[in-house]
Amino acid sequence: MGDEMESLDDFRARARTWLATNMTRRAGAVDAEDLMERSSQMQANLFDAGFAGIAFPREYGGAGLTLEHQEVFAQEAAPYEMPIAYVVSIGMLAPTLLDNGSEVLKKRHLPRMLRGEEVWIQLLSEPSGGSDMAGALTRATRDGDSWVLSGSKIWSSGAFTADYGMCLARTDWDAPKHRGLSMFAVPLQGTPGLTIEPIREANGNAEFCQEFFDDVVLPGENLIGSENAGWSVAQSLLLHERNAVAGVGYGVGLIGGDAEEGETTFGGPTVAELIRLARVRGVSDEGPIRQLIAEAYVQSIVSSQLGQRVMTGMRVGTYKFQWGSLPKLGLGVDVPRLAEIAVAVAGDEGVIWEGDADPAEPSLFLLGCRAVSISGGSNEIQRNIVSERLLGLPREPSFDRDLPFNEVVRNRGKFTGSSA
């Protein structure tokens, strides 16, 4: 290819041909486990063909094209299996590193990440903190050229197998909360002082982990962004996370599947599956049940159309990247509603099963559905962002923003409703 950027049409044609030759069309329900296993080879193939990191600069292993190209690729790739193992690493962490990392880190890690040779996860949430990521208590102390990390992070997925975690830690306790944080790249495999524990979820799965740092030593170059500027790195990461979950921005197409066909339901039933549940129960001719199925159908259509709209808005510049919060909020509302619809449609069959059978899917989905509305920035956080940043309404009064963080910690439990 010359210096001129490949046109969208040429790119589309090339992608279509390549996909048809090299990837497998999805058929029926996706076996997520099997797909995870085959992800590594698929990602390498994508990378070698120039379809990984489509909008990343070439010097970091990307294809040097635009998000518009990535959107085109997503459209073409919808009928195919995609390597879902890398959604977090490539959709959230890689763009964050691209925005904030040093040249050394970007040159070393981004190509590996894009090829799937190295997997990164995020280490933001803490047990004490919930949505208030800037209230991090994990501590990083300078020791000569190195940093010493201690504390705990939670709600990371895949920490057992990932190579690096992007970890937010407090480096200045006398500064106000947002101004004493720094971001670090923490190696996760065989790191002395690091313990990883799985978290068992209500539905019995163990997708998430908690990490304990007991004086983990990090080289100085593992600092991402400047010292005490970690909050802006975290915000960049949170933004890419929302967008990836919502399937917009750098996240477009990474999850795969055709949303219009109701195939991206975050583990919930597709419309076809709801119809099957209704037929099993013998209620597919009952008006109220049909309304529920139609509601799920309408919601899946509208959700996909909203994602496309926001993506278009970002592309033409009408909407800032922050607008990813809108489809993220939509999912956080729709997915739990879908779970309610599933149990209503399935009735007794959704909550009772024969002794040796697997638990009924609607019950498992209901138990797990709130992961979408809590993780990646809860619905409440998205509503704050939408009202304050998208619509410009006044920000919440802050009671801890300008105090030294030491004092904020001491003040816990003494809330009086007066701001600092």
Binding site: E260, I293, V302, Q308, R309, T312, N384, S387, P394, E396
Partner: protein
Amino acid sequence: MRLELSEDQEFFRETTRRFLESEAPLTRVRELADTAAGFDRGWWLKAGELGWTGLFVPEAHGGGSLSGRPLVDAVIVAEELGRLVAPGPFLPVNVVAAALAASGSDEQRAEVLPRLGTGEMIATWAFAETGSPWDSGGVGLVAEPAGDGFTLTGTKVWVEAAAEADQFLVTARTEDGLTQFLVPAGTDGVVVTPGRSMDLVRRYGSVRFDGAQLPASAVVGDVGGAAADAERQLQIALSLQCAETVGAIDRVFEFTVEYMQERFAFGRPIASFQALKHRVADMLLWVESAKATSDGAAEAIDAGAADAPLLVRAAKAYVGVKSLEILQDCVQLHGGIGVTWEHDLHLYLRRVTVNRAVYGTPEHHQERICRLLEI
């Protein structure tokens, strides 16, 4: 409310908006409430000049779309009409224009389309009947062969602009199946009963056919073969209706958020209360989703996509439900002033509620979605 418009389309939107702001502001809408027609025919000629009713009319008959996608273009006007809850029979005239352009005889096209385009003639679609309205299956109005022509017997209800219409496109049933007729107002045996609606300027009436005699030349399309035509007309009607509602909720949401920033209570703008901010956030989600699905439906219909029947009903179901929810909450956020006659909110509540009901309720179309999905 597409985010990517051509220059022509942008200009069309601007012209339409300026025209409405100067020639049909809300003060004028309130005046028109007291008139029988709810709109002014002189004003409608000006609307014709702007091209509102020529979008589906072929160039040969004096019309033309901006983009080759006439519905996507018409949606621009419908959205602007919604923003100002404007008067005028935009929807029924365009539905009939699209129907004649697609299936009308050469004579019908030549005679009627140019005059619909200029605005001098008004046409409307007489489709619904009580019992099972807004569905081809519910059409019971009988067209019996009589001599060279047909005799029509039965009653159509909720016909938009019935009392002002010069021509009725009537969907009837013959032995061979659905058949459509173009019937001039004033034909013997055609009795119009004017009606009013919750909307201040939109009128719907009923049209009774007491054995009205029509020549064979009144048939639009094929005898017995109008089912697909009627479906396409319904799709266009639903799409324009959704677009209008989207324009209305977009405007209401806009001025509600403005009001919340100006209105002080407890020493703060009410826009600073988190409970209200979170509701506003949900509403933005609904407004943007409504825009997305309304646009998606229009594009699919213009493209003749296989899933157009589903997409337009999904749009109606979504927009119909959420628009009322948005209006209700915007009234609530306004407080007392929001329930007064003097405030414009009720004009929007009226329009949106009528649009929710007419051309099929969300419940109706959700049931139709199930049938299309073969459940």
